[in-house]
Subunit: 165 residues, 6 copies
């Protein structure tokens, strides 16, 4: 953390407090793309689970069928909700955090967000592992831009541990 703190102090030194305040939204929220990332990974995990779920056998009884539909519809619901949450978190970053001076440095900022939010929408409409992985990547790219505006090198070190087995 020592290195990171040092980088951060340098960055702070470059943008004196009063200037930062001039640009700053009130209330200065606490922004972190990790919320969008977790949502995107949850979408991916649900796709994995939906695709792995065994259909009940042809001679399954009512209880087995009800259990199957219960599980499947919950996976779909969780996928839906987290795709929506991902869109919402991205939307907060786009409209509340990013400012015109960020746009100058990242002229493709709008495209990044439009693409990522449309991918979230596609993941609602489909059960498609590639689309889910694309969403996770698109969020990671935005996270990289976000942290670069704060002079921090982005790394999601626990991404795999979070996703689990």
């Amino acid at each position: 953390m020592a290195l990171l703190n040092r980088i951060f102090q340098v960055v702070n030194g470059m943008f004196p407090a009063e200037v930062a305040h001039a640009h700053c939204d009130i209330p200065c929220g606490i922004y972190d793309p990790i919320a969008a990332k977790i949502a995107a990974q949850t979408v991916q995990k649900m796709v994995v689970r939906i695709q792995a779920l065994q259909q009940p056998a042809a001679d399954a009884n009512t209880g087995e069928r009800a259990s199957y539909v219960n599980t499947l519809s919950r996976y779909i619901q969780v996928k839906e909700e987290h795709a929506q949450l991902c869109k919402k978190e991205l939307s907060i970053l786009w409209t509340d955090y990013f400012r015109p001076d960020h746009l100058e440095n990242h002229p493709d900022l709008h495209s990044h967000f439009w693409t990522a939010e449309k991918l979230a929408g596609r993941n609602k409409q489909t059960v498609d592992l590639d689309a889910a992985k694309e969403l996770v990547s698109a969020v990671d790219e935005i996270a990289e831009i976000f942290w670069s505006t704060k002079g921090v090198q982005y790394k999601d070190e626990v991404a795999e541990a979070r996703f689990g087995t």
Copy 2:
């Protein structure tokens, strides 16, 4: 990340997949205490801002007063919502993630959560920087327990960068 991955593989090796699955809630959500941490930090930031907000002068006009109340009540509202969000995220960890075998290894698990959630409640009721910092610490302690159950050393490296100036 190489080291972390290696640790994670060792941990995975210790708990074979089928055993893990036996304990595993369906749907295996994606859990991460970072959501509770961000919410707790937002509470802290709102306390800082509320305490720094200047009251309008005695001879302020209606517009200045309306603007003051608008800002103050929004800070209070954001504090309220994120204290609630913090409780909700903690509650998900307590009831969905942690299992009886975790409780055996961490016999004070329930106390940790009760204390942290009560702190979230206290931060709703007060404007108290110490209470806010205690909440952040209580969430950090839970995060440490959480990650220890996955064999990962907890570190929130961007805590300061996220909190901002």
Copy 3:
């Protein structure tokens, strides 16, 4: 109601107002475990209905199948939402109402809540009448503890009328 009022006055007499106020959360909400009970009973009723729902015949037309899926997925959704509501109401009681002095008198308080909230989670994941009945019982046990702290004998006299036929 006369008897109940008398009991209540005695209880009030034992804890003078100013002492009660010292322990009291602000804002002193209105707590009542009946909200968790109704939610738990709704979960149970949905399980009954899901298990009673007839699948469409093999030669059913599209309209009959759509109607079946519409009904089934709504039952599952209502079960999900009320299991979640049950957890939320229990969580409010645990963190907002119960205080350290209650814990002294009921050392298994945390276990009661952990068990009940985990049962709510299990009822989301399954379609299991026994699990639903266990949830209703677990909430009733908490309601008994709750009302005992107010010196009131707990009875849900309209439980059956509410559940209906």
Copy 4:
């Protein structure tokens, strides 16, 4: 409970299951006006607290003023939310539970609900103890009608214990 059960069996005997089912909404929810009652009592309690809250002295410091506004705006917010919840719960009873045959027996049913929901709205707009008590009474009258349709004599025996001191 014996008497109540007996009454209930008689009532059930009068409306054979298949007839009841013919009128019954799917999914047959679990209706109970107690949710609206608790919400109305919470509104009343908030009015009591708002009216009892002491303004900070003229020479109060910023911390005392912030604490005062925090508490006052939370009371107002809780009043607002529970007045809204009361409306929502009443609306569910009016549109989901009550049927045309109930309306025949209670021709003033619509007026009861319109009045009660408008009272909930008035309690949002004002800080008025009489309006709050009127709302509680209006909900009680609806509860009486509700339980009469089930052949149950309505009594909220813990109303005072719930309201607290």
Copy 5:
């Protein structure tokens, strides 16, 4: 718009501002039945889509079946949510906008709302194009009453363009 403006000025002239204010709810919201109309049309569109959705063939693979259930359950969910939204928007009009003097001029006001809200409920429970069309019509009738109280002739000119193909 000239004609409409003129009509509106005449109407305003008939109800002087101070009188209007005396009746007026605080805060004078912005009411418009178009929100209920859009919700009702969305319900209708979902019914059309559900009925047009092709079931997977008997020999469809798991991916095709998952995709089918994903789409079907999302249509049902959207239908559910917009039927609920329609009820909520109608409820706002009934309790917040309409006043006793409106009821005098439209003695069947309560019936209009009860019918429309019950239709919204029926559209949740069924997949029935006639019920959906009835809901749209019932909302249109309420919209006509609403605008007549403002002296405006109701016309939803883009109803078809909004519904789309």
Copy 6:
């Protein structure tokens, strides 16, 4: 409506159904910028009311002060919620309705949305009638683009009647 229908038929003729379907999001929602417009107008109305609200006199009693704070904080809350709703409705249009081929015809599409959503944010942070009017105009410009993609001439004929006096 005859003219409008004719225009609509022509437009439909230009984009045959199967082509439209190829571009079409599933589920083809019902999009209409009027929801964002109503939200924006509500923001404007709240600003008008906040600015017109009289502060209590220096010697006002507690009841008058409580009533004042109740009203003011409710106006601020309604402003907040509708500014947020406006952002949400704009976000739906941007990510769900508009497609790459629309962007080609309206290369400043992203700027329109970013500006309008940032204006919604500014209206949360301030009590500023000019900012509120700018938001209404920004939504109107987006509505014009939206309807032009459907070959419909945009006009909000009841804008003034909706805003009221």
